[in-house]
């Protein structure tokens, strides 16, 4: 098992304030619905229906989107997806792309891949932009710099952009906006994810809070063709616009307590040229539907439910482990409880295999999930898969076997407990239990076991 360090107490306090504020606002927002549970159940059913008949809805989406003039491409791997985007950039002859926030592009490490081809991908979500400025991956599914204070953000902008220091959020936003506007006005390649792909209409739904998603996907540049590439996972398809609208009601509320994100963008295709009535919008829209391990989750009935995730981030907000360790400790693009279910399915690494174990299984994640994913039970299943794949070291497996044998023979069990109490003694036990006793005491050993007491006075 690889360790999961805790944040220092000051960072925990900064993070905790932000996460608890989101939880408080969520609580108030949810309380306005007399039947939030029924809304969750409906959201669960919508996602279950979509995932159970995934290929059908993907085909329907592809047909409808293609009819709208969108190019739909199925990509199996991260490399394939990155190559596709790089090829578009080369064809356009651009060296800069503007990006709306997208976890899937983080998953495939698109920015690095583009950089290797001499293309600079600029993040335009404010939090993501600041994370990019300091070379950090996003800390949280929906809030990339939730762990930073206003002062820290001010110092980063002052350092990296050479502007005077301020910690005023409005002025900080205006500084970033100045930089971004220039890019938006000249960019010819816009990259985004998609929150939902609507099968019946072939549309993409994109939610942002800063309008940057709209800027990235409408691209008001004048010289040369303009292209929008959306990259999303195959699981993001939903059957109808009505379904997407329902999920929208739970998405922002669960993550931040907002009723809706500030901008909800529905993209139905490239700029229409026939009538000449659309002056803005890209000349081409490409949608990349990425597998990258998702089909392995689809095939496993215990993991399939994890594909229902709408990436609201609520499970991280409520997770006691996430609160203490923070997003970067997971060392995985997808962090927090749902991230620990996803990561081992996407990446066959020791780090990813460790994550399902880095949970006390308290179940707060499953209780808050707006689409009712049994997150902590999926973590248990991932632990089983890790053991099946030999990720549990041999000595541990042997220790568990010995433990099971001891537990199967009452005489052995009694001998073991007597030996521990009488022969080994508390001093040695305390040393053996170092990871525990370094910070916590062990209770004193009882003079007699319950079994012995019961023998003397049954139920007295």
């Amino acid at each position: 098992m690889m360790p999961l360090p805790a944040l220092d107490s000051q960072r925990r306090a900064t993070l905790g304030r932000a996460l608890n504020l989101a939880l408080d606002k969520r609580r108030q927002s949810v309380a306005q619905f007399p039947d939030w549970e029924a809304m969750r159940q409906r959201a669960h059913d919508i996602r279950a229906g979509a995932v159970e008949r995934l290929d059908e809805y993907l085909d329907q989406f592809e047909r409808a989107a293609t009819a709208n003039g969108i190019r739909v491409v199925r990509v199996a791997t991260a490399e394939e997806a990155c190559r596709y985007v790089a090829a578009i950039a080369k064809r356009l002859g651009v060296t800069t792309a503007v990006k709306a926030k997208s976890m899937v592009t983080e998953e495939i490490h698109l920015n690095h891949a583009l950089e290797a081809e001499g293309i600079r991908a600029m993040e335009t979500d404010l939090g993501e932009y600041i994370a990019q400025l300091c070379g950090q991956p996003p800390f949280h599914l929906t809030a990339p710099i939730v762990h930073l204070s206003r002062d820290e953000v001010g110092r980063i902008l002052a350092d990296k952009l050479g502007v005077p220091f301020t910690n005023d959020p409005t002025r900080l936003t205006l500084i970033a906006r100045d930089v971004m506007r220039r890019e938006f006005l000249t960019a010819r390649l816009g990259i985004s994810g998609a929150n939902f792909c609507v099968a019946e209409s072939g549309s993409l739904m994109l939610v942002t809070n800063e309008g940057n998603g709209r800027m990235c996907t409408t691209l008001p540049a004048k010289d040369g063709p303009r292209v929008h590439v959306a990259i999303t996972g195959i699981e993001k398809v939903v059957p109808t616009l009505k379904d997407a609208a329902h999920l929208l009601r739970l998405l922002a509320r669960s993550g931040s307590g907002m009723r809706l994100t500030a901008y909800t963008t529905l993209i139905n295709g490239p700029r229409k040229r026939a009538g000449g009535d659309e002056s803005t919008g890209p000349d081409e829209v490409h949608v990349l539907l990425l597998d990258n391990g998702r089909r392995s989750m689809l095939r496993d009935p215990h993991l399939r439910e994890a594909l229902y995730c709408i990436r609201c981030g609520a499970c991280s907000n409520v997770c006691p482990v996430y609160h203490r360790a923070g997003g970067h400790a997971y060392q995985s693009v997808y962090n927090g409880p749902i991230g620990s279910v996803w990561s081992p399915a996407l990446w066959n690494t020791e780090r990813a295999a460790t994550l399902p174990f880095a949970s006390s299984l308290c179940g707060a994640c499953a209780d808050i999930c707006p689409v009712k994913i049994d997150i902590h039970h999926a973590l248990l299943w991932q632990r089983k898969l890790a053991a099946d794949r030999g990720r549990v070291p041999l000595w541990q497996r042997l220790a568990w076997r010995a433990w099971r044998i001891g537990m199967s023979w009452p005489a052995l069990y009694r001998f073991g407990s007597a030996a521990a109490r009488k022969l080994v003694g508390p001093a040695v036990l305390n040393r053996l239990a170092k990871p525990w006793t370094a910070t916590r005491d062990l209770p004193p050993l009882a003079a007699k076991t319950f079994r012995e007491l019961w023998k003397e006075h049954p139920a007295e």
Binding site: A6, G363, A364, R383
Partner: protein, 217 residues
């Protein structure tokens, strides 16, 4: 617990050959080891009308996870014993309709919701009703979530840093209530919280609900 159940007129047996329900191995991902102990558990306890345990997580293991664990891979197994296995407080309140055991305890007490009790068994009100019926007892609510104490079985030794901070925050929340005792329905949580309380030199003492109700404290 046995004494209370006996006092209520029930015939209580303690099968001496019992050991463990298998939960630790199950949580470690080693389901074959867990299944061996689960089968053993069912064999030993199947002859009883009801199995009562002073532990939410052991009961959650039997009730919620045995069917999956003992299934044949195509679906969950039918485990009738799962429906007859109860946590102590839910057995008293829901099955026996008893809330007042005539206990007295002149202390300020707070109650820690153990995660498996709260979220696997949905037992939340039962222990509180039992506590409110205790004469002289003042119940003060913890105002922290309800958050996990950070025990989580082997989690506490595999990830000691995070687990420790969780326990520290739990103990801080307990101390803010001004209670003299923290009561819970799971030995794991009590061992963890208690270990942090004594390490920090706190005056607060951990106490199992059954100890309090049975007048052992």
């Amino acid at each position: 617990m046995a004494r209370i159940l006996k006092r209520l007129g029930h015939h209580v047996e303690y099968p001496a050959e019992q050991t463990c329900c298998g939960q630790p191995a199950f949580n470690a991902g080693l389901r074959a080891e867990a299944a061996a102990l689960a089968k053993r558990f069912v064999r030993i306890f199947d002859r009883f009308d009801a199995v009562v345990a002073p532990s939410g997580s052991c009961v959650a293991m039997v009730r919620n996870f045995y069917p999956e664990l003992l299934g044949d891979g195509r679906g969950p197994a039918r485990v009738p014993l799962a429906g007859r296995t109860f946590e102590f407080s839910e057995f008293l309140v829901d099955r026996l309709n008893v809330t007042d055991l005539g206990a007295a305890f002149n202390e300020r007490v707070t109650y820690h919701d153990s995660c498996h009790l709260l979220r696997e068994l949905r037992v939340q009100e039962q222990p509180r009703r039992l506590l409110r019926a205790v004469k002289g007892l003042e119940l003060v609510e913890l105002n922290d979530g309800p958050a996990c104490c950070g025990f989580g079985g082997v989690f506490s030794v595999k990830f000691p840093e995070v687990s420790t901070v969780m326990a520290e925050d739990k103990v801080a929340a307990i101390e803010r209530t001004g209670a003299r005792y923290v009561v819970a329905g799971d030995g794991g949580c009590l061992m963890h919280i208690g270990g942090m309380l004594t390490r920090r030199g706190s005056k607060v003492r951990p106490l199992h609900l059954a100890e309090l109700l049975g007048g052992v404290a």
